[in-house]
């Protein structure tokens, strides 16, 4: 039933995870069917939602990240941290509006293929504290940027690749600004940018667990990408 498909990314992981999945005795036939079909219908589990197949899975991955970012900045602007300067308020409001536009764009573009609204878990963020909020903002921006960079090659449709390009550079503008608010001239964090001057990139396999750690209740899986 399992077949290595051209769009299956770094396959070793997929194969191992898949075997682990079988060993766990979960709904093998259901997932196997889903990963082999072009039918965009997703299987919704009690506590997991399937991102879908092929390009749809990557777009839904982006949609979930934009949902998290939009929810985060909406809360940041609604309950500003102590001593938020006027400049910071204007900039964070701009970022909020960009993320909301991204979220609504993906929802609309994905149409019937979009996953539902997911609930973020902001547990450890102290929204009253500037340092805590900016550190969280940095982790959201870096997550978005590395996810777009690392999954771009998976797109089969060129329009989607270009769209990811149009959005990721805006996320990079956010990331640099947040870095510079945290500490002047830190926009080129050496943890992010290597000595070839290349920004970080993360595969969906690396990104999904990070996303799931920020989701309450329903988590995401992407069997088509070998992520269970």
């Amino acid at each position: 039933m399992y077949k290595q498909k051209p769009e299956t990314p770094p396959g070793g992981i997929a194969r191992r995870k898949f075997l682990g999945f079988i060993a766990a005795g979960a709904a093998i036939s259901a997932v196997g069917f889903n990963s082999c079909t072009k039918d965009p219908t997703r299987i919704v589990y009690n506590d997991h939602v399937d991102l879908g197949v092929g390009d749809i899975a990557i777009l839904n991955l982006a949609y979930v990240i934009e949902q998290l970012e939009a929810a985060f900045y909406t809360r940041v602007v609604a309950s500003p941290y102590a001593n938020m300067s006027n400049t910071e308020r204007v900039l964070l409001t701009d970022i909020r509006d960009h993320e909301v536009a991204h979220r609504e764009f993906f929802k609309s573009a994905l149409n019937g293929n979009a996953v539902g609204a997911l609930t973020p878990n902001f547990g450890t963020i102290n929204f009253a504290d500037r340092g805590s909020v900016l550190a969280a903002a940095k982790s959201f921006e870096d997550l978005g940027l590395t996810a777009y960079n690392g999954s771009a090659y998976l797109f089969k449709k060129s329009d989607y690749l270009l769209l990811a390009g149009k959005i990721v550079s805006v996320e990079a503008r956010h990331a640099a600004l947040i870095d510079n608010l945290i500490s002047p001239a830190s926009f080129a964090d050496s943890l992010m940018i290597n000595n070839n001057g290349l920004d970080a990139a993360k595969s969906p396999q690396e990104v999904v667990p990070l996303i799931n750690s920020m989701l309450k209740d329903t988590k995401v899986i992407a069997p088509d990408l070998g992520i269970y």
Binding site: D97, E104, A109, L162, G165, K166
Partner: protein, 274 residues
């Protein structure tokens, strides 16, 4: 360059790599054997041609994109290296921004040159005043920042315009994405510096249905044409739900950066060549 290690590294990223080249396994064997004899400089070229075969692109296509990127990076590297050499141009408080950006641009030049090997084009000679349009670019910090602002935004557009041409080539496309986002970080940082000097500008490119060049400097109009696109994938972003009513046109412009085609970028580049 350790070819065997490089292939092993690629297999880590792409386990199907061997399958992709399996009909050509003899190619690898031959390359590994010749590795001992061939000059080190020739290896990137031979390896690049193997990659192109594995990922189904012609070498000319990929080299063309990489040389285009390299030419832009030559300009940026020259621009920042010259800026840092001027005694009284960049205030000490802002120096750290420019040493970081210059380091990246020089790294991009080295990276692209090593990927291209002997196919790399040489650097043109540059005139940073753009034939006298920015006469004081290396003596007036505000002019220098304004030109940096436009160059970085254009660099982002240039890379974005080439992404689709690299489809199917995981390694090079991902590297292009990784440089692209670094250029966008630079653009944000330069704009932030300008903001802090009282210039009416944001870290992101703003605009409206009628305003496409948010620098307000007419000499940069060509750099920003089309940036005020409001429609993405057939969806008018200003019809989407925002937090209060629909998304504003300025948000719609800011939330999506636009690509630029190669010919338009080369026109802009030609202003800066001597």
């Amino acid at each position: 360059m350790n070819l065997a290690k490089l292939i092993a590294d690629i297999q880590n990223v792409d386990p199907e790599f061997e399958d992709r080249i399996s009909p050509r396994r003899s190619v690898i064997k031959n390359m590994a054997q010749m590795g001992a004899n061939v000059a080190l400089a020739a290896l990137p070229l031979a390896f690049g041609s193997l990659l192109n075969k594995a990922y189904g692109q012609t070498e000319a296509d990929v080299n063309d994109v990489l040389n285009f990127a390299l030419t832009f990076e030559y300009l940026e590297a020259w621009f920042y290296n010259q800026g840092l050499l001027q005694a009284n141009l960049i205030p000490n408080a802002d120096k750290a921004y420019f040493t970081a950006i210059a380091a990246h641009e020089n790294e991009h030049v080295s990276f692209l040159k090593s990927a291209l090997g002997s196919n790399a084009v040489p650097s043109p000679k540059f005139d940073l005043t753009a034939k006298g349009v920015f006469e004081d670019v290396l003596s007036n910090y505000d002019t220098y920042l304004a030109v940096a602002n436009a160059l970085e935004d254009t660099g982002v557009r240039a890379y974005k315009g080439q992404l689709v041409k690299l489809m199917g080539n995981q390694i090079i496309l991902t590297a292009a994405m990784q440089i692209h986002s670094v250029e966008a970080r630079h653009a944000s940082a330069i704009r932030y510096l300008r903001m802090n000097r009282g210039v009416n500008i944001s870290p992101w490119i703003t605009g409206s249905a009628t305003v496409f060049n948010d620098t307000g400097i007419a000499a940069f109009n060509a750099n920003y044409i089309g940036e005020n696109n409001l429609v993405q994938a057939g969806i008018d972003i200003t019809t989407l739900k925002g937090l209060n009513g629909t998304v504003s046109s300025s948000t719609a412009v800011e939330a999506f950066d636009e690509p630029m085609d190669k010919a338009s970028v080369l026109n802009i580049l030609s202003l800066f060549t001597a």
